[in-house]
């Protein structure tokens, strides 16, 4: 009986820990120069969470070559169109990774690329929509070998 109780407590603890980890990526303090780079590219519009997915490996063996896919939930027609996606690294020597401009001929608001990460850090993706709204996603990536020296 007590064994079951402990198991359950462990399971709940593990679940809480996972939730905390996910939250941590979104709420981590962002260095000032990263915030400045974001302002410059994205503007002052308040970003909402949701409607955007940032897919990166939890652990990147080689920081010189980290696969990234950003998917924005958008019909890519009329007002529901994503016009730009911006990627920022919070702990690289330069915060801006890349910006993508999406034309009206795209079928989906989805971009895959390969990026460099100097060390383990939080990666941020921003999407600008045709109606002026901005969406944001964050993901934590652990890096085994830094990508700046190779």
């Amino acid at each position: 009986m007590s064994a079951i109780l402990i198991d359950r407590r462990l399971a709940i603890g593990g679940l809480l820990w996972l939730v905390a980890l996910k939250g941590a990526a979104a709420n981590e303090a962002i260095p000032a120069e990263v915030t400045a780079a974001i302002r410059e590219k994205v503007g002052a519009a308040e970003a909402s969470e949701g409607g955007i997915t940032l897919k990166v490996p939890e652990t990147a063996e080689n920081g010189a070559f980290v696969p990234v896919t950003v998917t924005v939930h958008s019909a890519m027609r009329g007002e529901d169109r994503c016009t730009a996606i911006h990627l920022f690294a919070t702990r690289n020597p330069t915060p801006g990774v890349a910006s993508y401009q999406l034309g009206a001929g795209l079928a989906r608001a989805e971009v895959s690329a390969r990026i460099r990460l100097a060390e383990g850090q939080v990666l941020l993706a921003y999407a600008r929509m045709a109606d002026g709204s901005v969406r944001r996603a964050a993901a934590r990536v652990a890096v085994s070998t830094g990508g700046c020296l190779t």
């Binding site: 010189a64 990627l87 690294a89 020597p93 890349a98 910006s99 993508y100 401009q101 989906r108």
Partner: protein, 105 residues
């Protein structure tokens, strides 16, 4: 070096989503790297453009965080047979180009 490669279907149905994958061999030197005590000079592609019949389909501005041999994949749809032009531009203005045609039925 700097050979562009495009992977995409040669034909598609009107409005059908197709994937376009692009890759170019390029060192993307940031100018931050040291080799034998010397700084390796900066050499970067800073801009990529995909044009469909001359109109902007997809573009990218690269900064230091893009990997060597930049790879990009995106999804497009075409209503008619289209001529595609892909341009990669280095910081000093040097360009690499590739063209592709998709027949739409």
């Amino acid at each position: 070096m700097s050979t562009p490669r495009i992977r995409m279907p040669a034909s598609a149905k009107a409005g059908e989503p197709i994937e376009i994958r692009t890759l170019i061999d390029h060192p993307m030197e940031t100018g931050l790297r040291q080799q034998n005590g010397q700084t390796v000079p900066r050499k970067m592609i800073v801009r990529f453009e995909a044009l469909a019949d001359g109109e902007m389909l997809f573009a990218a501005d690269f900064r230091n965080g893009t990997s060597a041999n930049p790879y990009l994949a995106f999804m497009a749809r075409f209503e008619k047979t289209t001529a595609l032009t892909f341009v990669w531009r280095e910081e000093d203005g040097r360009e690499y180009r590739a063209t592709q045609r998709i027949s739409v039925s």
